[in-house]
Symmetry: C2
Subunit: 350 residues, 2 copies
């Protein structure tokens, strides 16, 4: 009988989540049935959307139930298989959640080729966050040469891809991040301008960075960044809305005045396009092209990425709380157990 | 020497415009130069967008200057021509503004065939408002059979076309208008449900009218209608933003709470598409198809329209103020001078 160590939702947060909202628990893993596989989690992805799953209210996916294992994408090794689709020893992309072991339907697993790239990249530059950047930018943002793009959380796995892909399309790119280390990294990534949103002169810095206004604002943050961006949006600007991490812990609408009419008026007179999306909605139509494009860019050296590893499932909760405060630097990944394909486990990132 | 009686902008309104903001003035019309034509205005279109032109601030077009003739679309007769493009007696679509006579560059005139439809329709069902409905609905709203569409100001020239074209695409249509006469008219237009926004039970009526939510909300009103619609928007709903007539006289943002984050959150989690547009931006690409489609629908009896005539340029201002309060019933048109093509001047509408 296999056991799994899992992080379960103990209670729903009100505002910022606290350690008591999550609980570490050892559970028995059920026996493998026909068509299933037993998996060992190697890497667990931590992402902002998980905050939404902790709420009872409806979002674009159903919430995690109280007492259920926290949801999340994982890279796993197949330990046992009762399906012809996977074989013990295979490395697969799965959605096991925050736990060390799980039994899954083999049809939901996607095999990863360890010869192609470090397997952790299936959670980052070759995975969900990069795919969100790719579809949001190319399908909604639609950058054209010479246009100005602004993205916040630009050192993160979504923002860094948005900026780099926009640059590959000939756009001028302005990246926003928190703190000097991240700002330095943005310059290495090729952003034309890198801005620190923690600087007291942030709004002025942004203004100076966009002398010709903003044609694309890739929204994954909300709040103060949106406020600074708003007045600079050009006619026909596009705003793909991927996420609003600064808002996820809000419990009540902020005090007035009510700026909803102001936003609608700008949408009307500037003919803005504001569109929410999730990468999930594009998987069937765009995933193969994404894999092909990004693999090509990686092979050609036109894309950089950075991973931020945390060791042990018992440290996932604290790492996740830090993510909501922008403490991670690069794609945040929990190394749940040894990576059998890695020769230098502590140095995947650049 | 010809004279024109013109309505000029005397001062900029603060809030709702008042009679003193406009002034009737008799001016000399300059002599016709090479390439120009002298026009007599037959019909002047009054439209909500004109309120925006009275403000100093930037909108999608530059404001009317103090002392300048108010802007507006017109149907005119050519009195004199120094261009091979038009001949005296021709009926043309022009943009002469609120005045009885004008000299215009002949290249800006579009000849109207009086044999095809009453010439006033060039300002309504075959003109700008219907074109706005057509492009906003087909290019942004994209109705699919069985989907639910909601539109307000549904008895007006834009809303009535939105509802009828959506129905032709197989959508279920809910029209909102003010007062029992307009609601009765909506039923004649074929709306599946017609709702009176002046009813105290308006929000409940809307709720009952959209048991499966709203897939397309064509926004030309804002304010209380938006508030009622908002919670019913389905995942992947589309919101073409054509206008916000209820907001045009607002001077300050309303009191809080600030609902901007609420809207952005809905856009994010419901993957809404909210996009502002003006018909002008689509003329080059869509105008011919619009003319062909709408002419066909009119000829086939699938479209109804209604015109609301006011006589005399001296009554334009009061009619316009009434328009901003929803007092018109159908496309509001000022009959500035006799229509030489009309045999029954008072009965164009249905």
């Amino acid at each position: 009988m296999t056991h799994t160590t899992a992080v379960v939702l103990a209670s729903r947060p009100s505002g910022a989540p606290v350690p008591g909202n999550l609980r570490l628990e050892v559970r028995k893993v059920p026996a493998v049935q026909e068509g299933q596989a037993l998996l060992r989690t190697i890497y667990l992805s931590l992402d902002p959307y998980m905050r939404g799953r902790m709420n009872a209210g409806r979002s674009y996916a159903k919430p995690v139930g109280i007492g259920e294992v926290m949801e999340g994408g994982t890279v796993c090794e197949v330990l046992e298989s009762a399906s012809p689709l996977v074989t013990p020893g295979d490395i697969v992309l799965a959605h096991c959640g925050w736990q060390t072991h799980a039994v899954e339907d083999a049809r939901l697993l996607r095999r990863i080729d360890p010869g192609k790239a470090p397997i952790s990249t299936a959670l980052g530059v070759l995975g969900m966050p990069a795919f969100a950047a790719y579809v949001g930018l190319t399908e909604i943002g639609r950058p054209r040469p010479g246009e100005t793009l602004v993205v916040a959380a630009a050192a993160g796995p979504v923002g860094s891809m948005v900026g780099q892909i926009a640059r590959l399309h000939g756009a001028r790119t302005v990246g926003i991040a928190g703190g000097p280390r991240k700002v330095t990294w943005l310059k290495e990534l090729g952003f034309d301008v890198a801005i620190d949103h923690r600087s007291p002169g942030f709004a002025d810095d942004l203004s100076a960075a966009v002398p010709h206004g903003i044609d694309i604002y890739f929204e994954n943050v909300g709040g103060a960044v949106w406020d600074a961006v708003f007045d600079h949006l050009n006619d026909f600007a596009r705003v793909p809305v991927c996420g609003l991490i600064s808002q996820y812990n809000q419990t009540n609408p902020p005090a007035g005045p009510d700026r909803l009419p102001l936003l609608m008026n700008a949408i009307n007179t500037k003919r803005l396009l504001v569109r929410g999306f999730t990468q999930r909605d594009f998987v069937a139509t765009h995933y193969e092209r994404f894999q092909s494009d990004v693999s090509g860019w990686l092979a050609g050296g036109s894309l950089k990425y950075r991973e931020d590893f945390v060791d042990g499932i018992e440290n996932a909760a604290e790492a996740f709380f830090g993510l909501l405060q922008g403490k991670n630097f690069g794609k945040l990944i929990v190394r749940v157990s040894d990576d059998p394909t890695s020769t230098a486990p502590a140095s995947h990132g650049e």
